[in-house]
């Protein structure tokens, strides 16, 4: 697994300078949590890594051709089921694998078959997590993936994510230090660099 190296990254939206000469090193095959106050550029950093934004300056190296992501919003196709939403992003996975992953994320039976628009916010979040876990991509970027989950569900999902991402490069944005602890991941404080 290649390390991801960021040097002097800058990004500006109009007058607003979001990232100013940001540098970091993310170890390949490990999970790193990114924390920082709201608006400090965490989501922008993930968008730059995903190629959804163009940097104004600086350099990113080591990003593989295929990445997977849990976006800040669920970004699911509302009239399709959890299984279909996962399958379009992970076409090489079998139905059994998809069902097993959804079950491991506490989405069982009918919840797997219903259109996701009929699921609760927490359920949809878990579908988005399942999709990201099963999609191809050496690099997995997760933007507040456990947002909206109750404590018990969050702990179970966290434990599963930790197991399922072992050996994969993961960059996870969070506001909760407990999540980083549960994942046994180093924390990079974005605003303080």
């Amino acid at each position: 697994m290649t390390d991801i190296v960021i040097k002097n990254l800058s990004k500006r939206y109009g007058e607003l300078l979001v990232l100013d000469g940001f540098s970091a090193h993310f170890a390949g095959g490990k999970t790193t949590c990114v924390m920082g106050r709201s608006g400090c550029g965490k989501t922008t950093l993930l968008r730059l890594l995903l190629g959804l934004e163009r940097a104004d300056g600086g350099k990113i190296t080591g990003v593989p051709a295929r990445c997977s992501a849990v976006f800040q919003e669920d970004r699911l196709c509302p009239e399709f089921s959890a299984i279909e939403n996962v399958r379009i992003a992970a076409p090489r996975r079998t139905g059994e694998e998809i069902r097993a992953t959804l079950s491991a994320l506490l989405l069982d039976g009918e919840a797997q078959e219903k259109p996701v628009s009929e699921l609760s916010g927490g359920m949809r979040r878990r579908v988005a997590i399942a999709r990201a876990l099963l999609a191809e991509g050496e690099l997995l970027l997760m933007d507040e993936p456990f947002k909206g989950l109750d404590e018990a569900t969050r702990d179970a999902v966290l434990a599963y994510v930790k197991r399922a991402t072992a050996g994969r490069t993961v960059i996870l944005v969070t506001h909760d230090e407990a999540e980083a602890k549960a994942l046994a991941a180093p924390i990079l404080y974005l605003g303080e660099l």
Binding site: L50, L52, R66, C67, S68, A69, F71, E73, R75, C77, P78, E79, F80, S81, I83, E84, R87, I88, A89, T94, G95, I98, R99, E113, R131, A135, E136
Partner: protein
């Protein structure tokens, strides 16, 4: 409970609509009796008798088939070209700007002007197809372009990140977001295609067309036949609209796939 209420509501609505039509036909009958001249206003009974007569004539169906195939060909050409143009225009601003004068012209110029102009270029038999196409094109284009521009871009980003195939992007991301607009515009466009297509046949005097039949009825002051053909046009227009929208909905609505 909800479905029972829904059936009840539908029945109530059907009764209301049926009553309105019954009253309208009664008013029509009274007016025809008051005028007392078939040429000026044929009565509903006379029209019904003529309509039944037409339905038993073999030639009626060949006339209907002639107009239906040409008008619907124009509609489908307008649907395909309008959709393709909208997709390209939604992606490339320059295409949208270049198409704007054409679309606004086609939308604003009276259909009669186009018919007369097209008569110079085309045979009468081809006229209804061309005019239907021309009328349908901006309706589909504008509606679809609006829907495409209003699409949620975050799902496009998702599709890009997960490398969704073009087919999956269409089926899962784009079609669900444009389906309602496309069905509504098709529903409107079929009616417009029929109106403009028959007008083109009438002005172009296309042999063996509905427009030709209307012209003959006018020439011989045969008002019941004129009305009877009008009823057939409305029926054909409604039937083709329902069928096309049903087929499109069937094609564009998701079918559950099993893992």
């Amino acid at each position: 409970m909800i479905s029972t209420m829904s059936v009840k509501d539908k029945t109530l609505r059907a009764v209301k609509v049926g009553s309105s039509f019954a009253v309208a036909i009664a008013v029509w009958q009274i007016a025809a009796m008051a005028i007392g001249h078939t040429v000026l206003l044929a009565s509903p009974v006379e029209v019904l008798v003529r309509l039944l007569g037409l339905l038993f004539e073999k030639e009626t169906y060949s006339v209907l088939f002639y107009s239906l195939t040409r008008i619907l060909l124009g509609f489908f050409l307008g649907l395909v070209v309008g959709s393709a143009a909208a997709v390209v225009a939604s992606r490339f601003e320059i295409v949208k700007n270049l198409l704007f004068p054409y679309m606004i012209t086609v939308r604003s110029v009276p259909v009669a002007s186009f018919i007369v102009l097209a008569l110079v270029w085309l045979e009468a038999a081809e006229l209804s197809t061309f005019i239907s196409f021309l009328i349908v094109l901006p309706v589909i284009y504008n509606s679809l372009l609006g829907a495409l521009e209003a699409m949620d871009r975050v799902l496009d980003e998702m599709a890009m990140v997960f490398h969704l195939s073009l087919w999956h992007r269409m089926r899962y991301v784009w079609i669900p977001q444009i389906r309602a607009a496309l069905l509504a515009s098709c529903s409107t466009a079929v009616g417009l295609a029929w109106k403009s297509g028959v007008a083109a046949e009438l002005i172009g005097l296309a042999d063996g067309s509905i427009g030709d039949e209307l012209y003959s009825a006018k020439l011989y002051l045969d008002t019941p036949t004129l009305f009877a053909w009008t009823v057939l046009i409305v029926a054909a227009s409604l039937a083709s609209e329902k069928l096309i929208v049903w087929l499109l909905r069937l094609a564009l609505t998701k079918r559950r796939a099993h893992a």
